[in-house]
Amino acid sequence: MLLKKLMTVAGLMLASLAASVPAWAETPAAAQAKWNMPVGVTEISRSVHSLHMTIFYVCCVIGLVVFGAMFYSVFAHRRSRHPKPATFHESTLVEIIWTVLPFVVLIGMAIPATGTLVKMSDTSNSDMTIKITGYQWLWGYDYVGEGVSFYSRLDEASNAARQLDSGIDPASVENYLLNVDKPLVLPVGQKIRFQMTSADVIHAWWVPALGWKKDAIPGYVNEMWARIDEPGIYRGQCAELCGRDHGFMPIVVEALPQDEYEQWLAQQKGGDEAPAQSAETAAPATEVAAAEPAVAGDMDADADAGESEAPAAAAGDELSKDALMETGKNAYQANCSACHQADGNGLPPTFPSLHGSAVVTGPVDAQIAQVLKGKNAMPPFAYLSDKDIAAAITYTRNSWGNDAGVVQPAQVAAAR
């Protein structure tokens, strides 16, 4: 029976190989293999993949020999077939052999691994640099020297579907949990240096198709590099537990040919405030947000909140309460409602209700400070614009029966 079990497991392993090999052969290298590590689209990712497969095959061979001997013994040296046990219990020669032999095999594995590691760590002579900042729970991208930077977070469709009991089938959402509002656009063929850091807790930036992940640590700047060979869209996720929404901060890299990339970059420089052109999902989300009547209360957690695309007003201007409430509602839905809920009831005891809350109805400065700096499970939101913060605070101070006055962007700016 044990033999049968071995065969089943070995069969499973072989079947997995058999299933995955043709899959790589017929789909683009970028496609996510379902059973195995993707080959990826960089020289590094290919050597990592071949290292992975080499070690895997070596383990399979060792496994066949070792388990073969074991199950042969289980079969042949059971009492019914082998009633008289032998008495030997040592052999120096055999023991030396099975100490030295694995050592040699290990050296054989270590050589290519060292080579790949050395290549991976060489970030010199890069053509461009992207600075990546991890936030709870989104990514900030900075095209160093280009003056282009933006945030990238879970797209609205996934965000709506991923709420508890949302009633939306994740299978109906394209690239569920692996799509963002604004992807990181990169050129192919360039040696891109990535610098990772974090504004709050430790995150890890991981796109499997690039062949590696690297931690984004507050106070550290880590480096890694990639030269992407093929244009395409490559998806990944945060890989280091970073709190509540760790599972909901995906990464999307859109690799474009050099000329298209330059066009895109020029466009970004031209109009910083313009809605993202390349984010396929941003458009519908914005439409929904615009079409949504501004009635507080009937907006459920699964409603599309949309980016705060309200008419651009320079921070510092005095805004009317209505304008703040409208912007604030969107900002609240996008940033606060996951924990405090769309209806402000929160999820006590972890996430307090905002109805008559001491913080929300108390001194303005304390609430601004808490939003900027965070508290316990509440992350700092300093990366949002003054206007969004002021509007979201205004919204909380004047909804659900609260009546605690208006906050202007200037007050937030002053508190920073």
């Binding site: 044990l2 074991m70 100490t99």
Partner: protein, 535 residues
Amino acid sequence: MAHEHAHDHDHEHHGPPPGLMRWVKTTNHKDLGTLYLCFSMLMFFIGGLMSLVIRAELFEPGLQFVHPEFFNSMTTMHALVMIFGGLMPAFTGLANWMVPMMVGAGDLALPRVNNWGFWLLPFAFALLLSTLFIGGGAPAGGWTMYPPLVLQTGAAFPLLIFSIHLMGISSITGAINVVVTILNMRAPGMTLLKMPLFVWTWLITAYLLIATMPVLAGAVTMLLTDKYFGTTFFDAAGGGDPVMFQHIFWFFGHPEVYILILPAFGVVSTIIPTFARKPLFGYDSMVYATASIAFLSFIVWAHHMFTVGMPLTGELFFMFSTMLIAVPTGVKVFNWIATMWKGSMTFETPMLFAVAFVFLFTIGGFSGLMLAIAPADFQYHDTYFVVAHFHYVLVPGAVFSVIAAIYYWIPKWTGHMYNEKLGKLHFWLSAIFINLTFFPQHFVGLAGMPRRIPDYAVQFTDFNQISTIGAFGFFFAQFLFIGNIMRCMARKGEKAKARAWEGAHGLEWTVASPAPYHTFEVPPQIDDAETQAAH
């Protein structure tokens, strides 16, 4: 208490005092062994229920049952409960019962410390589990407690730190007791190299515990002062270093891995010779291999941190030292198979679990070797591939060895044989469901599913569903085990002989079954036939 204890000694065939206070006041290694084992069973079931919450939520993409924060609490608490509440007390319980009997000592060297060590645990876990019911929820930053995330924990934080301190004190007292007993209280003629391998592995484990638990205590104390007393050990803004915590934690954490597996090696090295009816192959090299693994476990910690951005030379050092562990571990596996070779094997339940251990632990070893390769680890790290790896070494590894040990020694403990049919059924259900649970996790991990996420992209659904089915099956199969144990404890089933297994050797089999309340008050004669594996 002391008086009563002395009183028992005056009349050596006295049984334990009657009533519930026996268990509170006991200093008897057998009573405390039983308490440790019962406590660990309770914790295994609580931790198991938490894993079922995790697996239920992961049955389908989307969130169906729990909020992400609670999910994170479940993964965090599952690990803490299983490691510190399940496995470590289980092995300490086995050491309590067996180490004195195996070396021919009357009891552990420090019986009252032993009582204290055990009774710290219920309080430690009451504190830890109480966080599930307080405002702000249970710790959710992972059992590794990395700052700055763990510093975002609410009111549960000081309870977490204090309960870890208590668990650490408990482990250290247990470890000191084992070391002192083994080094000072062996029967005359029981030289170190005649000791059963279980005693050897526990001796080395005890040193690992004494060396590393204070390191953990230091690390969590620094977290405590960072949160409440304004220090900045791990806060870059104050000149501290969040990565330093990881170095300190894993300097504890990697030897901890071997604390959880070395006693398991000892159990398997005891069971296989019994049922192969053949002495353990390469006893000396088993001892040396255990010691080498223990030494290496202190110089490989940063392989848990390949992605934190260490300098190249650091990554190379930790890659090479980690790969090196495969050598002594390989020696152990080869020795077990050589012990089976040309034996005359029967497959009673303990042997089934032991053979499954060799097979499935080795699969965990293979994935461990893959993870040691730093460049490949950049892909594997923090994915379900890692989850599959460490569950293979901890569940069909360490947990299977605990189950095997209980089946193997329960005739000695209770005087009654367990039900063999029920035991075999338990084995086959456990072996099938555990593979169903964890084998598919290799695939989803390689295909890109990170660990510690409550929800996942739809392409990972199939494997997660298989995994969930396996987890539920494994959990419920364990009730057969509990039933079987209860049956022995209720004194049902065939009476066990003093030597319950015909191929068994060792001093524990020279005393009656059930073992009298006090054994070896007069040191036994060491008969070379009982230490036949040694020489």
